[in-house]
């Protein structure tokens, strides 16, 4: 398997935008260590949209912040692995290079549009500062572009002098999106961009993101716990649990024939909008605690198909098809 992995890497390296290799992240504070990310591998190609799914504490946001090398200082540490953006190591970049990359080549949209916009600066300025930084233009010039961008997402250009609190939740998130996309980045990371929004507003934002991703031809890393959003927006999906990717592959295959019992559990725990009403299957136990992770497969304590092996050995990624791999001992025999 390793060999095929290498071959694959060489063959597609040219259009690889992002490659996360065996990423490990720890949070250290007050003597405690939380292992938030434990060996994540993920590759994003040009123009591709990949979803990252998991419940709270699965390590999704930590992975996103690691890509920008923006883990909280003094508590968050990348202990192992590397992240390659355009085949350059993000971890080896200087602060100046990083600042060029952030916002210029990688844009990020945050979960809560209210807290991720600075309350005491106008929205115009918060978009313009990206342009001023990366395009090297003056505020006056930048404001013209900001106006166009605002109009593009359906906000009157004249509102650029408004403060975040003067906008509705949906509008704020649009501002967040254009601030991330202002410099046409190659990669857009969206961290739960619609969680804080109402259903009809969420629909607006999703349509907008679809449109913009196509227009800007950027790659998209979509982080969410909402499987429906992934299904609409992404081609491939990675399911995270306990800081690891447990299942990875095409959205269609994983959602119709999940192989990991956690993915199966997630899909059967959500009530559906169509079809017969079935009893929900709740997963027993609690989401794995990053401060006290179990040995072996992180999910084994909650798994109904747990084998002896699962309790002590971490399962590797087994390739099921070209488009689908899973980290579960239960499928080992089937491959």
């Amino acid at each position: 398997m390793k060999a095929t992995g290498l071959l694959e890497k060489q063959a597609t390296q040219s259009d690889q935008v992002l490659r996360i290799e065996n990423l490990h992240v720890e949070y250290r504070s007050g003597g405690g260590i939380a292992k938030a990310v434990n060996g994540v591998n993920l590759t994003l190609h040009k123009g591709e949209a990949v979803g990252l799914v998991g419940e709270s504490g699965a390590g999704k946001t930590t992975t996103a912040l690691s890509i920008l090398n923006l883990l909280p200082e003094g508590t968050g540490y990348i202990t192992k692995g590397d992240i390659w953006f355009n085949n350059e190591s993000v971890l080896k970049k200087s602060e100046t290079e990083l600042n060029k990359m952030r916002g210029g080549q990688i844009g990020m949209v945050f979960a809560n549009p209210l807290t991720s916009l600075n309350p005491v600066f106008t929205i115009g300025h918060q978009v313009a500062m990206v342009l001023m930084k990366h395009r090297g233009i003056k505020e006056k010039q930048a404001n013209e572009t900001v106006k166009q961008l605002l109009e593009m997402v359906g906000i009157p250009g004249a509102r650029l002098n408004d403060y975040p609190y003067q906008l509705s939740g949906g509008m704020r998130q649009r501002v967040g999106i254009i601030a991330a996309l202002a410099c046409s980045p190659q990669l857009l990371i969206a961290d739960e961009p619609t969680t804080a929004l109402d259903v009809t507003i969420q629909a607006q934002i999703l349509e907008l993101m679809k449109k913009l991703q196509a227009e800007y031809a950027s790659s998209l890393l979509m982080i969410t716990h909402n499987l429906g959003i992934i299904s609409e927006l992404c081609q491939r999906v990675a399911i995270m649990y306990g800081g690891e990717i447990v299942e990875y592959g095409s959205v269609r295959e994983i959602f119709t024939a999940p192989k990991h019992w956690y993915t199966y559990g997630l899909l059967h725990a959500i009530p559906k909008l169509t079809g017969p009403r079935e009893t929900l299957e709740a997963l027993p136990g609690l989401v794995a605690n990053a401060q006290n992770l179990p040995a072996g497969c992180k999910f084994h304590e909650r798994c109904s198909h747990c084998l002896e092996k699962c309790k002590s050995q971490i399962p590797p990624m087994f390739k099921i098809t070209d488009n689908h791999s899973v980290a579960c001992w239960d499928v080992e025999g089937q491959v």
Binding site: N99, R102, G103, G107, L117, N118, P119, V130, H134, A180
Partner: protein, 306 residues
């Protein structure tokens, strides 16, 4: 915004009326007849009565209060019997001195505490943060009187660097200024530090950095402004503590300001002088709070619309 300001002004007037009432009632509660004080120990009953009439003390309390209020509304703060001149005249000279001293103390303390607090907040957990915290907690635990004495002992008596008494050049202001601003600086350092620590945890700080803005620019331009908000609101309040300290500091360093005057006036039972001195300090304090509020609306756009 305008409505808010008008409402604040209305409240302010109400508060000041309350202050005059308290001051007036207080002075009438106490023993010690000001007429006797003025007339001197040797005076006859008739002379005392004469003084009483001239000072307006023979009238009912209500009339006395209304007369006093009427005077204030016409810009007349009353007559000081111990200084034998109008209260306004006595106060205006003293007010300038208090103002000089307070502003001096306020500014050096503000600049010092904001610098120290900001650095400590950014370098949360570092040695400088520890020093800042230590300063903050010790500064809040020190008696102003004692601090004054120790300063005098070291810089005045032992080293003979600074004058210990009275008015003069800038060097006369250094010790009283430091003494006055010390506690205030401690409180503000602490607030600034924790404010900075809190703000740096906010989503928008990460969001700003994720847009490629450098760390120093993010902290000093985008985060600092947010961290300053609570400091500004607190400034008005803290100014009150500063004014309270003025009474003691002026007495220690023999600084002829309003604080020292108040102590003398109380001892002389100079009613109108005490009343007006209290009123003037309250006006100062209330104005500072108002100023802080206005400043706040300038820095925080959210307030003006609420």
């Amino acid at each position: 915004m305008r409505n808010n300001l008008l409402k604040r002004l209305g409240l302010t007037v109400f508060v000041l009326i309350g202050v005059t009432l308290i001051a007036f009632v207080l002075m009438r509660l106490g023993g010690g007849d000001p007429a006797v004080m003025m007339a001197g120990g040797m005076a006859t009953k008739e002379e005392v009565q004469d003084y009483r009439v001239r000072m307006g003390l023979d009238q009912s309390y209500l009339v006395q209060y209304l007369t006093y209020m009427n005077g204030i509304l016409h810009g007349d703060l009353g007559y000081s019997w111990s200084y034998h001149t109008s209260v306004g005249e006595v106060l205006s000279v003293r007010l300038v001195q208090t103002f000089n001293l307070t502003l001096f103390g306020f500014f050096i303390a503000s600049i010092f505490s904001m610098l120290l607090g900001t650095i400590a907040g950014i370098r949360h957990g570092s040695p400088i943060d520890f020093v800042a915290l230590l300063f903050a907690i010790i500064g809040q635990s020190m008696s102003i009187v004692w601090l004054g004495f120790v300063l005098i002992l070291i810089f005045g008596v032992q080293l003979k660097w600074l004058p210990t008494q009275g008015l003069g050049g800038l060097q006369h202001m250094i010790m009283p200024g430091i003494c006055l601003g010390f506690g205030y600086a401690a409180v503000q350092t602490r607030m600034m530090r924790s404010g900075m620590v809190d703000v740096l945890k906010e989503d928008y700080v990460v969001a700003t950095r994720a847009r490629g803005i450098s760390k120093s620019r993010t902290y000093l331009v985008y985060a600092l402004r947010n961290a300053l908000l609570p400091i500004i609101t607190n400034m008005g309040n803290q100014f009150g503590h500063l004014l309270a300290g003025v009474v003691v500091v002026e007495t220690i360093f023999n600084w002829p300001g309003i604080g020292q005057l108040l102590v003398q006036a109380i001892n002389m039972r100079d009613y109108q002088l005490v009343q007006s001195a209290l009123l003037i300090t309250s006006i100062l304090l209330v104005l500072c709070n108002l100023l802080a509020d206005i400043l706040y609306t300038v820095v925080d756009p959210r307030i003006s619309f609420q």
